[in-house]
Amino acid sequence: MPDRVTNPMEHKRFERLFLPLMSAAYNLARYLLRDDAQAEDIVQDAYLRAYRASGRFTDDNAKSWFLTIVRNCCFTFLSRNHVADGAVSFDEDIHTPDQVIPLYRESIPVSPEIVMMRVDEQNLVRRAIESLPIEFREVLVLREFEELSYREIADIVNIPTGTVMSRLSRARNHLKQFLSAEMDQEDCNGM
């Protein structure tokens, strides 16, 4: 191994700026990948990437900068592993705003562990969010969990702010419908 040169000042600066963002990164990765264990790996990888690129970080918005890296790592992973996002892609220009977003379908191959986990958790909210197509899911997570502004989300996802707005609104409508449908189901089962 080559001798490690340490630069404690810069190392500390990186830790101070980016370690507090770990939960934000973790949740974004969890929902993009729909796999908690994989999300941990990706977050770790993202930190190393950010660390090595931190010399280029001049912007004052550490959160946007870092979450962009996390998002890229997730998408690289998904495409490299040919993970089909279960949800049908949705063309905002063609579909009318009132149309329901096509659901993520369980028939898409998901590892047995993930299925088990899902059943175990019975986490309705999580299932509802995961049922969104990825492009709606990420916008929702960035807004509701991280309270990022439309502008910040637009920069991370690389879409116009108007699209952020419409995706958010449709994602919320979808969640409302999903949740109320599930509640009805539960009520029926309880009878």
């Binding site: 810069e10 990186f14 973790y26 941990e40 977050v43 770790q44 969990f145 707005m165």
Partner: protein
């Protein structure tokens, strides 16, 4: 303002992203419209549910792993504004030129990564071992079975350690052929990731930093007169952890 105009703006109002004029209009509309008010309230309760049930803090284990990964990373973070100004101006061009040159020149990259790019052969051996399910010739998690198995097959005795307690399970060994000689291949498993560890005597002091090839992480180190190559689809940090564990166990 009518419901028809108010509805499409409700999300944006809720997110606090409306212009002040629109904001006032919506506020006034909500005062007199119970239906829109209820939609607005639903957004708030949805947000509450999402935050309460959907969000989770990063696990403590992850925090620990990331911190140690950063501390052990060979990279030195340097801020660009900490450099002298002439360098700041010239650096991007220099870096671009260097990267271009590297990418464009297989000869140069061979010079840097070893005379014949071994990592390419390592990847091939790793993929092959998994393709024809010829992972091991001796399948055992007992190092006292695996180590003696190599004697008579190789002219050196590879160090074999069981790292099960650290999460790297020894699953066996086989003889492979790399760098124009028979080499020891030890198989480890970390969760669902298979790791091939190739070992052979190498007098040349080559050292190749960790790199990624075809999506696999390849890590090379030396100990005494042996060269070690670990390859896996496992992430770099954990692969490096395994290297450290093996170095620690060595006498």
């Amino acid at each position: 303002m009518e419901c028809k105009q108010a509805r499409p703006l409700l999300d944006t109002y809720f997110d606090g992203e409306l212009s002040s004029e629109d904001k006032e209009n919506i506020k006034r509309h909500l005062l007199g419209c119970s239906e829109c008010t209820s939609i607005h309230e639903q957004m708030a309760s949805l947000r509450k549910d999402i935050l309460a049930e959907g969000r989770r803090n990063a696990p403590a284990g992850l925090r620990k792993r990331v911190k140690s990964a950063l501390e052990n990373d060979a990279y030195v973070p340097v801020r660009s504004d900490a450099r002298p100004s002439w360098f700041a101006n010239a650096a991007p061009a220099m870096a671009a030129g260097l990267i271009l040159g590297l990418v464009a020149s297989p000869i140069l990259s061979d010079m840097m990564f070893g005379r014949t790019d071994l990592s390419r052969d390592i990847v091939a051996a790793h993929v092959r071992s998994q393709m024809d399910s010829h992972l091991t010739d001796v399948a055992s998690s007992d190092m006292h079975t695996v180590k003696p198995w190599f004697s008579g097959k190789l002219d050196f005795s590879p160090p074999v350690y069981d790292l099960t307690d650290a999460g790297f399970t020894l699953i066996g060994g086989r003889v492979d052929y790399l760098d124009e000689q028979p080499v020891a291949a030890l198989l480890y498993q970390r969760q669902r990731h298979v790791i091939n560890l190739f070992i052979w005597p190498d007098s040349e002091a080559r050292f190749i930093p960790m790199k990624t090839r075809q999506g696999y992480n390849v890590l090379n180190w030396r100990d005494a007169d042996l060269t070690f190559w670990a390859i896996s689809d496992l992430n770099k940090v954990e692969l490096d952890e395994m290297r450290q564990l093996l170095l620690d166990r060595a006498p």
